[in-house]
């Protein structure tokens, strides 16, 4: 069994808004091993992006606050590092790919300028060397005319190309961990397929990946393990085969049944009843109980904790 590269332990993050304080991430623990792709899946507002941002300590402050927990990365607690040490981690050991490539690139600087910035900062190399490295990475992510593209502005590239630039930037420094936050949601399906091929190639350089998505199909195709989040908490975790062949939590089951599949068998979709509750208004006990077809008395009173079902398959549900 390979070593744990990242371990998140009882992470709780809260946000203060005009309407009050709410927990965006509540008691979340999971880990990522070396050379592993872990999928973090959940619907909007479930706390998956906040979890990712917490790893790099990019939670907008003072509104957001990491209340408790530890984030151990290569045997260092990232939450205890001072800002100088943290800057050495960001982009260098852990890098992030955001959903919207147009928002992640500066519209005022040429692609090349933006790419060499991180290289020069972390690697202490000359501008010329950095430029050459950046250009070679643009080629690796199959951008045509890489040499000329280095002088382009982001608006001159299509969405798919912009995302490839972002991916090249994230990989240039050969990080140990890449966090990909919905890297293909803004892209077309055929472009998505191109980007996934790239991400899969990363594996060969022994990089671990945390892939955040709302698309259960993506999890199936890309990941070794998956963590399912619902309303700020983890409801299920396990390797891909367990999650898909014997889902334990009613939410995971519902998600698998409700997703439109590519088929024309006139089978009706089975939606999950109701809507995701507002974070100010989570029900008592289990947060999913209002929508759960199998809820019973105990679900109202207690919060279920994660239970190990063997083989690292865990779920937070009283039914097991």
């Amino acid at each position: 069994m390979s070593k744990k590269l990242l371990e998140i332990d009882k992470l709780t993050v809260s946000f203060e808004t005009d309407e009050g304080v709410f927990k965006a991430v509540d008691d979340v623990s999971f880990h990522i091993k070396n050379n592993e792709i872990v999928g973090l899946i959940g619907e909007s507002g479930c706390g998956k992006s906040v979890t990712a941002l917490s790893i790099l300590r990019l939670i907008p402050s003072p509104a957001g606050r990491i209340e408790k927990g530890r984030i151990i990365f290569s045997s260092k607690d990232l939450l205890k590092l001072d800002i100088r040490e943290m800057k050495k981690i960001r982009g260098n050991a852990v890098s992030i790919i955001f959903q919207e490539p147009a928002a992640a690139l500066s519209p005022l600087h040429k692609i090349g300028q933006q790419m060499i910035e991180g290289l020069m900062l972390h690697k202490n190399i000359s501008k010329k060397t950095a430029w050459n490295i950046a250009e070679s990475w643009l080629k690796k992510v199959s951008i045509p005319d890489a040499g000329e593209r280095m002088f382009s502005y982001p608006y001159q590239l299509s969405g798919g190309m912009q995302q490839r630039v972002i991916i090249a930037m994230a990989l240039m420094l050969t990080p140990d961990l890449v966090i990909a936050d919905e890297p293909t949601t803004a892209l077309d399906v055929t472009t998505q397929a191109q980007v996934f091929e790239l991400i899969k190639e990363l594996r060969q350089s022994h990089t671990s990946i945390l892939l955040i998505t709302h698309d259960i199909g993506v999890i199936w195709e890309m990941c070794d393990r998956a963590v399912v989040m619902y309303a700020s908490r983890i409801v299920e975790e396990g390797n891909i085969n367990d999650i898909f062949s014997k889902p334990a939590h009613p939410y995971t089951k519902g998600l698998l049944k409700s997703v439109p599949k590519l088929s024309t068998d006139a089978e009706r979709l089975m939606p999950i009843h109701g809507y995701v509750p507002s974070p100010f208004n989570y029900p008592s006990g289990c947060y999913f109980r209002d929508r759960c077809p199998q809820a019973f008395d105990r679900c109202k009173k207690e919060k279920p904790q994660l239970v190990d079902l063997g083989n690292g398959h865990k779920t937070a549900c009283f039914l097991v």
């Binding site: 619907e43 397929a193 199936w220 195709e221 024309t264």
Partner: protein
Amino acid sequence: MDNQLIKQPILEIRNLKTWFPIKRGIMARTEGYVKAVDGISMHLYKGETLGLVGESGCGKTTLGRTLLRLEEPQKGKILFLGKNLLDLKRKKLKKMRKKIQMIFQDPLTSLNPRMNVLDIVTEGLVEYKIIKNNKEDHAKRLMKEVGLDENSIYRYPHEFSGGQRQRISIARSISLKPDLLVCDEPVSALDVSVQAQIINLLLDLRDSYNLSYIFISHDISIVSNIANRIAVMYLGKIVEQGPAFDIINNPMHPYTKALINAVPTPGIYKKKKIVLKGETPSPSSPPPGCNFHTRCPEVMDICGKIEPQELKTEMRQVWCHLYKG
């Protein structure tokens, strides 16, 4: 259900072209056109759902909007219930619009934030002077129809969640008992667990109102769950159309194949990917010959030179040089 369809199409589009002029300079000279919809023909029967699939920029939304004459086409015919919509003048067009309604992608921007639900869902009924008073009763009936609480008619759009808002816009669109509903990515902005709810609602309404849908989406797996027939668009043109079952299970055009192959599907063991090279060309300067030849994995010499002609079988049409009559 296909047998019950009356074999007279309620909608027929012939060689429709919606081009947007590109204007440059102080004289605003027209320097070229963005060929968003470039010579499309199709038809739709009563009670049928036609799924329109394609990637961003392929012209599917423009086509949907042209059907309601929200965009003016350059050329072509739109025959709706036997009349050409493009010949209608304002008054008659307004009458006709009652029968064609549209549902947009983002319900937050398509619902007026200053109107309460009561006014939103009955606006059409009042505008067309179908009701005078008892607005409340009609609003409550419509709310019930789309599965919302009847007592929330005095609330405003921001008080609802995304899925509920989409239900409100569906209630508004069915209020006039239309024949045709153009749904432009109606579930793309919604959470996965809610998408299925809306798809089921649309299916139920199709049966109870005997509606016909044009269902526009970039996601072929969603379309496969609702459409009887599917038309695949690429760069302003239809590349293939036919019964949903045939398109999904036996795609002919290389683009359709790639589109289906690219959908990540749980359960099918990790299949070999067809990864298309490059980017969609700009619709202002489409490549010569077949529009798709620059990215096609099965490209031949002829593809860059001659535009493929339609190959028609009883139910299906495909535009590709790989297939000869």
